[in-house]
């Protein structure tokens, strides 16, 4: 239960959602788009999230699609992670997503909420970073399609009033060989110590990480090191480790030294899987 009150809206169209946001913003209500609403409830309960106008996107049809269109797999941002896993149209996404939270919670957490959430793990974005996916963004300026890797820098960079409605992924990445590994401090549900997702395309390995730094990322420098076939596997991994962005997380899940140790082993597993 939240200690604050807010207006609750269920727009049916993209335009209606943007209009509601702008109107609430003009009235100083700190509007928030929501889809699964789990972060609003869990962070709101401890005063880390606040709004006076929640605009719930889940009835907007464009956000509930999951289909192949002209060589692209289009996935709506309102879909719950469970729905995406049940359909299993993008196996790397299924694999990564099915390790987020737990099965019941994934029946409420949405793709859009995970990618745009304040909680910084955002693990569902990893497959899309690897697959150079396109994101469909809606806002006061209308509908725009942008390469995810251009507007994802630690988080999805959205302008005021914008929201994510779809992610589109080129079919050739959907069927590329992949591996996804989640290491936790303990147990088999919950936040990662480190999650790595990797796929191989055009003979090159791509890697993206969550839990290593206080943001998910894909690093071209790490990938260049891992794909340098003039070096031994060990040397490739060492040079990739030198390119890990900072800061490396150092928290109750694990120290930064321990994370680097685990990362080294994970990279061995990743390269081994594609040999």
């Amino acid at each position: 239960m939240l200690s604050f009150d807010f207006d609750y809206y269920r727009p049916k169209t993209l335009q209606e959602a943007v209009g509601l946001f702008q109107n609430a913003d003009r009235n100083g209500k700190k509007p928030m788009y929501i889809s699964g609403a789990t972060e609003l409830l869990t962070l709101g309960r401890i005063n880390l999230a606040f709004t006076e106008a929640a605009i719930d996107l889940k009835d907007i049809v464009e956000g509930n699609v999951m289909q192949f269109e002209q060589g692209y797999l289009v996935i709506g941002a309102n879909l719950t992670l469970t729905k995406i896993e049940e359909a299993n149209l993008f196996p790397l996404l299924t694999n990564t997503s099915s390790n987020i939270a737990d099965h019941t919670a994934r029946g409420k957490i949405t793709l859009g909420g995970n990618i745009c959430g304040q909680i910084f793990y955002r693990e569902a974005v990893l497959p899309f970073l690897l697959a150079d996916s396109q994101v469909v963004i809606v806002g006061p300026e209308g509908v725009t399609v942008k390469p995810l890797n251009e507007i994802f820098n630690e988080q999805l960079i959205l302008k005021k009033g914008e929201f994510l409605i779809q992610v589109a992924t080129d079919d050739r990445y959907i069927h590329a060989p992949f591996i996804s590994i989640k290491r936790r401090q303990q147990w088999e549900t919950g936040y990662p110590l480190i999650t790595v997702a990797a796929l191989k395309i055009d003979g090159e390995v791509r890697t993206a990480f969550s839990g290593l730094c206080p943001f998910p990322f894909r690093s071209k420098k790490m990938e260049a090191a891992l794909n340098n076939h003039e070096l031994s596997v060990k040397a490739r991994i060492q040079s990739a480790l030198a390119e890990v962005p900072s800061p490396i997380l150092n928290d109750v899940e694990g120290s930064s030294e321990y994370r680097l140790f685990v990362l080294q082993n994970l990279l061995e597993d990743v390269l081994g899987a594609f040999d």
Partner: protein, 156 residues
């Protein structure tokens, strides 16, 4: 205070209730509708004690606002009547203090409904959503497997 009067379809009955937008479904069903089977634990989506069914799927009712429940078919433990999974929990002593039991049963009930042929890894994946502080895990596993087995015979 922002109050909304809404209709919730709970246990095959339409219940009219006045809620704040910030009220969770857990709070509403317990405090406003007197259905105290779903238990408050972590209130953070971690423990599963508050699990109910929404449109047949398991749902942590602390992760859902009451206003989101409109138009959904909601089932709480009070809405089950001596189902196979309830019988199996009794037969296999799948509880000690019992606090986690309604949540586990509602999760297992959905599992039997949605995945009647669940294999071991599916059972594990679904049941990992709930925590039992008394560690009745082995008995719970035995109970769910026996209910799945009986369900197969019933539906054949």
């Amino acid at each position: 205070m922002k109050l909304h009067t809404i209709n919730l379809n709970i246990n095959d009955q339409v219940r009219t209730v006045t809620v704040r937008t910030g009220d969770t479904l857990l709070y509403t069903i317990r405090e406003k509708l007197g259905l105290t089977g779903a238990k408050p634990g972590c209130l953070n989506g971690d423990c599963g004690a508050c699990t109910i069914n929404v449109d047949g799927w398991p749902m942590k009712s602390c992760l859902m606002m009451a206003v989101e429940g409109q138009g959904k078919q909601i089932k709480t433990i009070e809405g089950l009547g001596n189902t196979l999974i309830q019988q199996a929990f009794v037969e296999h002593f799948a509880f000690q203090c019992g606090y986690c039991t309604p949540g586990f049963i509602m999760n297992c009930h959905s599992l039997i409904l949605k995945k009647p042929d669940a294999d071991d890894s599916t059972i594990k994946e679904w049941l990992e959503s709930n925590i039992c502080r008394c560690t009745s895990y082995i008995e719970i596993e035995t109970a769910v497997k026996s209910a799945l087995e009986k369900n197969k015979h019933h539906s054949n």
